[in-house]
Subunit: 418 residues, 2 copies
């Protein structure tokens, strides 16, 4: 079964905003057994909208739209689709009453234009929207299903879960998408490809998507299948063989973020952590603390941009900075051990580097980053040269490398006294 997603909204045709609802919808549809073969973004001109819906109906079994169900003149999805399918609109008194009640709850009278949100094409099923005033609509026509949903993500998610998914599941689609999400840090895309591509021929039923980002590579082996057991088995098998090929560079087969993995490993080992970062400017601490419950293992961090703070807050000896420079193995190690001691944490991590665009030299170019890690027994350090990209990209790579140093600490203990 094939679907097309149409995002309606003139703001999505500006340079400022991208349609992200379709990512959520794609994931949900795939799990139910519906492939997304096309996505469209269209403004609020009736002519363009008609063209989009007409072509979508020519290509797909299911057409899902988001947006354009509001109460204003610019919200035209309902009318356009009704016209296109040759259905009259009538006011649904039940919806009208619910909208009026919503306003009453906020002690306001319903503006007359909101009555439009109660218009329903003949033969359409109304999908109640618990979180907003615009209900969704489900219309079957000529063998197609057209589903009109609101564009506000919170409303869309709740409405899809409660009203759309159960109806789509009733279609009894047997072939669904099964998938894994393998994530790799520290290997370039070409090397990941080289290591895993020989497996593709061994598992011709699976298709593997490879995605590259500054923070690493993702591999998504997947199968469309009507046999859940054998699909899961096959994915298990190819994932295992990929894991063997990728070794220590693979950090999850289940789509976890690196901070999730690090948080889990710290918790399992009853370890705590503190960080002292320079070039990443807080990004490492921010990553570690974006996990709910991170206060159980994250004690704190220091962002020491100035050399004075490296000394006063973390205890890096001033003559060390003078002799080796602020970007050096020695300072990375001193930051790691210094913050560990001051925070009383099991582990300390130190990051120092040159994020650019200025500050580079032939010996210490932009992109050079040192990551140190220390425990009570000792410490170790690794230097990276991130060759591509701007300040943001280098900082992202550096924060990821620092998180990876923590993961690797638990893979390859113990630390030696340096």
């Amino acid at each position: 079964m094939r679907a097309e997603i149409i995002a309606v909204g003139s703001e999505l045709l500006t340079p400022y905003r991208v349609d992200t609802n379709s990512l959520f919808l794609t994931d949900e549809l795939n799990r139910i057994g519906i492939r997304v073969v096309h996505k469209a973004v269209v403004g609020d001109t009736p002519e363009e909208m008609r063209s989009s819906f007409r072509h979508a109906l020519g290509r797909a079994d299911v057409v899902v739209s988001t947006g354009g169900l509001g109460p204003t003149d610019d919200d035209r999805t309902r009318q356009t689709v009704a016209e296109l399918l040759g259905r009259k609109l009538h006011t649904d008194e039940g919806i009208l009453q619910r909208i009026r009640e919503r306003f009453r709850r906020y002690n306001r009278a319903m503006p007359e234009i909101n009555a439009r949100q109660a218009l329903v094409p003949e033969g359409a099923t109304v999908l109640p929207n618990a979180r907003g005033s615009a209900p969704g609509l489900w219309i079957e026509s000529g063998g197609h299903i057209v589903i009109l949903l609101p564009g506000v993500p919170m409303e869309l998610h709740a409405l899809f879960e409660k009203e759309v998914k159960p109806r789509l599941l009733q279609l009894g689609l047997t072939e669904r998408l099964f998938t894994r999400d393998l994530r790799i840090v520290g290997l370039p895309e070409s090397e990941v490809e080289q290591r895993v591509s020989p497996l593709y021929a061994l598992y011709p039923e699976t298709e593997t998507t490879i995605l590259a980002a500054p923070t690493g590579i993702q591999l998504h082996p997947s199968i469309w299948s009507n046999d859940a057991g054998s699909a899961e088995n096959m994915l298990e098998e190819i994932s295992e063989r990929m894991a063997l090929a990728l070794g220590e560079y693979l950090y999850t087969t289940r789509g976890e973020t690196l901070e999730q993995v690090v948080g889990r490993v710290l918790t399992e080992n009853r370890a705590t952590i503190a960080v002292a970062e320079s070039c990443t400017g807080g990004m490492l601490a921010e990553r570690l603390t974006n996990m709910p419950g991170s206060s159980a293992y994250f004690q704190g961090g220091v962002v020491c941009y100035s050399n004075e703070l490296k000394t006063s807050l973390v205890g890096v000896p001033p003559d060390m900075i003078e002799n080796t420079g602020a970007v050096s193995s020695e300072v990375a190690l001193a930051l790691a051990d210094g913050i560990r001691r001051r925070a009383g944490a099991t582990l300390g991590v130190g990051v120092t580097g040159i994020a650019g665009p200025g500050g580079g030299s032939p010996e210490k170019p932009v992109g050079l980053v040192h990551v140190g890690i220390a425990d009570e027994q000792g410490s170790r350090e690794k230097a990276f040269r991130f060759p591509y990209g701007d300040r943001d990209r280098i900082r992202q790579q550096a924060a990821q490398a620092a998180l990876d140093a923590v993961r690797r600490y638990f893979l390859f203990p113990p630390l030696a006294r340096s």
Copy 2:
């Protein structure tokens, strides 16, 4: 003149990746005088691609595609478009030689499949790609212009700038898009709307897009016009009146980020800054340091998750934490003044709050955040209650509020001794 953008790539039909090239292209096309009326995302099946390009040619004067120009079997944009337009493909010896040279430079022989990238439809103009092996193609057909570009952003940007833009400018389009980018922090969308919407009727030629995000609201008044002078004047006028209506909540009319504005104001005032943050977990420092050159004013920061670190690194008295709790006005002020003193900075900022999902109570619910700011003369503090959203959203709002406290410090000095 109307354009449609087609993003080709099966990875763009997965739940993992969104097309962002179209944002860059939309901005560039608008400035040249071309409206984007439709965007499509399509996989690499020839049938789907044909359908997309055919419909686009029926709707738009200019069709710009990204992706599908690589050397593999899945890269079919070139062939599909040639077929659709009834053009034969021939091998361009010049391109072939350049591709071979590219490989030679990296000491590799060109794989035979890369010869495909030298295929050119009859009558097409080749757009050399300085940063990759796939050249772009410019094809005029039946009054339409079809432009095929690579999907790698770095290649796309360079190729557009050097090869596409000059050709599009030669079309001599006189009507272009003029726009402003006003950004507001601290007011909800409904209030921004209420303050500025009376202006819409006074400037019927302009259209204003309003975009809401956790970090604030953006207003984009814009005009399509063939008279640059009068368009700029009108935008200047409406922006000024919007600025008056928005007052202290407006931080830029030029699309700057809040950290850019804060960085500029700090530099202009020869002030330095240091931050002590709890619930934002490094996000505030990260924002401040994502600006190149921020080391001139940002001295450093402390992420003090544990109460012990609030005391040992920033000097918050332990009995204060015991009496008022770690999330309180007093602690926010103590963090601000403590980090200012320890870093020797002009200004100190302290943030403490409850990002959730756990840790809330009836008196101190999730979303409660205190922001303190201190200079040598004194300090002040503000409490926020961010009612919506998850941990990430609350942290984003809190970091934005803290940056805004710095901006407001320079708007409304001096601080009083508390």
